[in-house]
C-alpha cells in the first residue's frame, strides 16, 4: 500500500514532467511543471522529509513558479502556437537523454544500491585498536522513522558552527543577496 503511494506519486511526477517538457503551450508546461514539483514534494514526504517537502512546496511551487509566470508574461510571444517549441536537435536530444538514462540505469543496476530493499542505516563501529572510525560499516536494518530528521536537528546542523554547515548556510545568504542585487540590476529597464 505504502509502496503504491510512492509509485503513484512517481508516476504522476514523471508524467507531468514529461508533459512540462513537451507541451506546446508554455503556460501549460509551467502548470505541469508545478504538478511535477508537487509530486516530488510528495516523494520527499515519503522519504520522511516533511520539512523539505514543505520547503519544496514553498520555494518551488510558490516562489519559483511566481517568478516563472512573471517571466512568461514578460516574454509574450511564447504563447504563439504556430512555431515549433522544439529546436533542431530535438531528435538527438531525445537519443542523448534516453541514452544517458540507459547508461545510468545500467550503472545503478550493477551497483550495490540495487540490493537495498529496505532503508538501512550505517552504524559506525569504531575500531579502537586501529583508530579507524568511518571506514568500516555494518549494515543494520534501520528503524522505520527517524527522530533525527527533525526540523530542530536540521536547524542545528545549519546554524551551529561546530556542526559545520553554518558557514555554507551563511554563505548562501551572500549568494542570495548577490543574486538579488544582480537580478534587479539586470532586469531593470535601462532608461535610454
Amino acid at each position: 500500500m505504502a509502496n503504491n503511494v510512492f509509485y503513484i506519486l512517481a508516476g504522476i511526477s514523471l508524467l507531468s514532467a514529461l508533459m512540462a517538457m513537451t507541451l506546446r503551450n508554455l503556460f501549460h508546461c509551467a502548470l505541469f511543471w508545478v504538478l511535477a514539483m508537487f509530486g516530488v514534494a510528495g516523494v520527499f514526504l515519503y522519504l520522511d522529509s516533511e520539512f523539505l517537502a514543505a520547503v519544496q512546496v514553498i520555494i518551488y511551487v510558490g516562489a519559483v513558479t511566481v517568478f516563472i509566470f512573471f517571466g512568461i508574461m514578460f516574454t509574450r510571444n511564447v504563447m504563439d502556437e504556430r512555431i515549433s517549441v522544439m529546436n533542431g536537435q530535438f531528435a538527438l536530444a531525445l537519443i542523448a537523454a534516453v541514452g544517458f538514462a540507459w547508461i545510468t540505469h545500467k550503472a545503478i543496476q550493477e551497483s550495490s544500491f540495487r540490493g537495498f530493499e529496505h532503508p538501512l542505516i550505517l552504524t559506525q563501529e569504531a575500531a579502537p585498536d586501529t583508530g579507524k572510525t568511518t571506514t568500516l560499516a555494518t549494515l543494520v536494518s534501520g528503524p522505520d522513522a527517524s527522530s533525527n530528521m527533525s526540523v530542530e536537528n536540521l536547524a542545528g546542523d545549519l546554524l551551529l558552527p561546530d556542526r559545520g554547515f553554518a558557514y555554507a548556510f551563511e554563505f548562501v545568504s551572500i549568494l542570495l543577496l548577490a543574486a538579488l542585487i544582480g537580478a534587479i540590476v539586470v532586469a531593470r529597464k535601462e532608461p535610454s
Partner: protein
C-alpha cells in the same frame, strides 16, 4: 744554411702582407720590396743549391717540421724539405719569378694598381715556394690551393674586363674539380697511414706493399686521386680548358704562372710522390696516357689558333703533357728535366709574346708581322726559344725531349710504342706551330697598324737571360756527364734515362721537318694554309674550335648543374617551403577554420556535446 731555408717562402709572404697593408700607395716601393725579396730568395736558393752540391749525394735531404694541427693519433706539420728535387724547383721558381717581376716593371709601368699586382705576385711566389718546400701532403695541398687563388687573382687582375673575370672564375672552378680528387687522396693517405709526411708515407707504402698490408691497387687509387689534382693544376685533358682562357691575365703572369711554375706544380707533385705512383703499373699507365694524349691533343689545337698567347698556352699544355708522359713512363728525371728546361724557354716565349703585345697592342698574330726588324732582341730571343721548344739541337728542349722519348721507349707501360709515336708526332707538330707563329709574327709583311718599337731594357734583359738559359740548360745532361739527373735522382726510381744517338737524330729530323713544313706554308708560301684548311675543313673546324670541349662542358654545366640548381631551387621554393612548410601552416589554419564550425553559437548544441561527451567517456571507460 739549411736552417734559414724557411725564409724562402716566408719572405715573399711578408712582402705580400707589407705591400697589401702598408705600401699600397707607393708603386715604386711596392715593386722594390717584391723584387728585392725575390732576389734574396734566389740568392738563398742558389746558396742552398751550392750547399747541397757540396754534400755527399746520399745525405742531401733535410727536413724541418713544425706541428700545425694535430688530433691524436695523427698530426700535420708545416715544414721545409730541402732535397735536390725541391732545390731544383726552388731555383726555377725564384729565377723565373725574379725575371718576370723585373719584366713586369716595364710591362705594367702605367698601371695604377701596380702595387696590388706586386702584392699578388708576392703571394703567388710565397704560395708556390710553400708548395715546393712542403714536407707533407697537407702542406702541398695548402700551397696548391694558395697558388690557385693567386692565379685567380692575377688572371682576374684586370677585373673590369668581363673576359678576365670569367676566365679567373673558370680557372678556379676547373682547378677545384681536380682538387676534389686531390683532397680525397690527401684525406685518404692521411687517415690510412695516420701520417701526412712524404717520406714516412712513402716508407709505409713501400713496406705495406711488400708485406701485403696494402694492395698495390689501393696504392694506385691513392696515387690516381692525387693525380686528379695534377690534372687540374697542370691542365691535362680533360681539365685543360681553363689554361687557354687564363691568358686573359697580364702576359708576365702567364709567363710565370701559366707557363713556367704553377702549372708545373702538378708535375712536381707527381715527381714528389713518385713512389706512390711507381708502386703500381696501373697508375703509371694512366699518367702516361693522360700525358701523351694531352701532348698530342693540345699540339693539334695549337696548329689553328690565332691568338699568340693561346698558341703558347696550348703549347704549354702539350709540353706539360710531355712531362706527365715522361713521369708515367717512369722517366722521373726526364720529366723533371723537361720541366726545368721548359720553364726557361716557355717563360721566354711568353715574355717575348708580351713584348710583342706591348708593342702592337693586340694578341692576334694576323695583326703582327715583320716584327724582327723593329724588335730585334725580342725577335732573336723568341727564335731561340722556338728552336728550343721544337727540339732543335743543341738547344735545351732537344736534350730534355730526347730523354722523354728514351724513357717512353724503355717504359714498361703497355702500348708504350704508341705513346712514343704520339710523342714524336707531337714534336713534329710543335715545331710546325711554333714556327708558324714565328714566321707570321716576326717575318713576312708588316700588318700592324702602328709602328712597333723595341721594349725597354727592363723587359729585354730578362729575355736575354732566359735566352741564354734556353740554349744552355740542356747541357746539364750532356751525355755521359748527366749532372742534372745525378743531382735530382735520389730515390728508388728506375734508372736515369740515357742518351740515345739514333733516337736523338730521328727526333731532330722530325723537328726540322716540322720547321720546314711550317716555312713552306707561312714563309715561302709554297703551300697555302687557306687551301689546306678548306681541303680538310671538318678537321680544321674541329681543331679551330678546340674539339668543342668547351662547348661540351658548357652544355654539360647548363644542362646538368644549372638544371639541377633550377630543380632544387624550385623544390626549395615550391615544394619544401611552399608545399610542406607553408602547406603545413595552411593546413593547420584550415583545420582551425573547419573546427570553427563546431562552434555553432547555439547553446543547446554545446549542452548536447557536454552530455554526449559524458556518455562517450563513460562508454569508453567501461569497455
Amino acid at each position: 744554411m739549411i736552417q734559414y731555408s724557411w725564409l724562402i717562402p716566408a719572405l715573399p709572404a711578408l712582402a705580400f702582407v707589407l705591400i697589401a697593408l702598408l705600401t699600397k700607395r707607393s708603386k715604386g716601393l711596392s715593386a722594390s720590396i717584391s723584387i728585392g725579396v725575390m732576389a734574396v730568395c734566389l740568392a738563398l736558393s742558389v746558396c742552398l743549391f751550392l750547399h747541397l752540391l757540396a754534400l755527399d749525394p746520399a745525405g742531401r735531404v733535410f727536413a724541418m717540421n713544425w706541428t700545425w694541427l694535430s688530433v691524436p693519433p695523427w698530426q700535420a706539420n708545416m715544414g721545409v724539405l730541402i732535397d735536390p728535387l725541391s732545390v731544383n724547383m726552388l731555383l726555377v721558381v725564384t729565377l723565373v719569378s725574379l725575371l718576370v717581376q723585373v719584366y713586369s716593371l716595364g710591362y705594367l709601368q702605367d698601371d695604377e694598381r701596380l702595387s696590388t699586382y706586386y702584392s699578388y705576385l708576392s703571394l703567388f711566389t710565397a704560395s708556390m715556394l710553400l708548395l715546393v718546400v712542403s714536407t707533407n701532403f697537407l702542406q702541398i695541398f695548402v700551397g696548391w690551393e694558395l697558388v690557385g687563388v693567386s692565379s685567380y687573382l692575377l688572371v682576374g687582375f684586370w677585373y673590369f674586363k668581363p673576359e678576365a673575370a670569367e676566365a679567373a672564375k673558370k680557372a678556379f672552378v676547373v682547378n677545384r674539380i681536380g682538387d676534389v680528387g686531390f683532397l680525397m687522396g690527401v684525406a685518404a693517405i692521411g687517415m690510412t697511414f695516420n701520417n701526412f709526411d712524404f717520406t714516412q708515407v712513402e716508407a709505409l707504402v713501400t713496406q705495406g706493399v711488400a708485406h701485403g698490408t696494402y694492395t698495390s691497387g689501393f696504392v694506385s687509387i691513392l696515387a690516381l686521386l692525387l693525380f686528379c689534382g695534377a690534372v687540374g693544376k697542370s691542365a691535362q685533358f680533360p681539365l685543360h680548358v681553363w689554361l687557354p682562357d687564363a691568358m686573359e691575365g697580364p702576359t708576365p703572369v702567364s709567363a710565370l704562372i701559366h707557363a713556367a711554375t704553377m702549372v708545373a706544380a702538378g708535375v712536381y707533385m707527381v715527381a714528389r710522390t713518385f713512389p706512390l705512383f711507381s708502386a703500381d703499373l696501373h697508375a703509371m699507365t694512366v699518367v702516361a696516357y693522360v700525358g701523351g694524349f694531352t701532348a698530342l691533343f693540345a699540339a693539334s689545337i695549337a696548329l689553328t689558333q690565332d691568338d699568340i698567347k693561346r698558341i703558347l698556352a696550348y703549347s704549354t699544355l702539350s709540353q706539360l703533357g710531355y712531362m706527365m708522359l715522361a713521369l708515367g713512363a717512369g722517366g722521373y728525371t726526364a720529366g723533371m728535366f723537361h720541366l726545368t728546361t721548359h720553364a726557361c724557354f716557355k717563360a721566354l716565349l711568353f715574355l717575348g709574346a708580351g713584348s710583342v703585345i706591348h708593342a702592337v697592342h693586340s694578341n692576334d698574330i694576323w695583326k703582327m708581322g715583320a716584327l724582327m726588324k723593329p724588335m730585334r732582341v725580342t725577335g732573336v730571343t723568341f727564335l731561340i726559344a722556338a728552336l728550343a721548344i721544337s727540339g732543335v739541337p743543341p738547344l735545351a728542349g732537344f736534350w730534355s725531349k730526347d730523354e722523354i722519348f728514351a724513357a717512353v721507349r724503355d717504359s714498361s707501360v703497355p702500348g708504350h710504342q704508341w705513346l712514343l709515336a704520339a710523342a714524336v708526332f707531337t714534336a713534329f707538330l710543335t715545331a710546325f706551330y711554333m714556327f708558324r707563329l714565328f714566321f707570321v709574327v716576326f717575318l713576312g709583311e708588316a700588318r700592324s697598324p702602328q709602328a712597333a718599337h723595341e721594349s725597354p731594357k727592363v723587359m729585354t734583359v730578362p729575355l736575354l737571360i732566359l735566352a741564354v738559359l734556353s740554349i744552355s740548360a740542356g747541357w746539364l745532361n750532356w751525355p755521359g756527364w748527366d749532372a742534372f739527373s745525378r743531382f735530382v735522382y735520389e730515390g728508388p726510381a728506375p734508372h736515369p734515362e740515357s742518351f740515345d744517338g739514333v733516337l736523338a737524330l730521328f727526333s731532330s729530323l722530325v723537328a726540322l721537318a716540322g720547321l720546314t713544313l711550317s716555312g713552306l706554308f707561312y714563309y715561302w708560301k709554297v703551300f697555302s694554309a687557306q687551301k689546306a684548311a678548306d681541303r680538310f675543313h671538318p678537321l680544321y673546324l674541329l681543331l679551330k674550335n678546340k674539339y668543342y670541349v668547351d662547348e661540351f662542358y658548357g652544355w654539360l654545366v647548363r644542362k646538368f648543374t644549372w638544371g639541377l640548381a633550377s630543380l632544387f631551387d624550385w623544390l626549395d621554393r615550391q615544394v619544401i617551403d611552399g608545399g610542406l612548410v607553408d602547406g603545413l601552416g595552411r593546413l593547420t589554419q584550415d583545420l582551425g577554420g573547419l573546427l570553427r564550425f563546431t562552434q555553432t553559437g547555439s547553446v543547446q548544441n554545446y549542452a548536447l556535446v557536454i552530455l554526449a561527451a559524458v556518455a562517450v567517456i563513460y562508454l569508453c571507460v567501461s569497455f
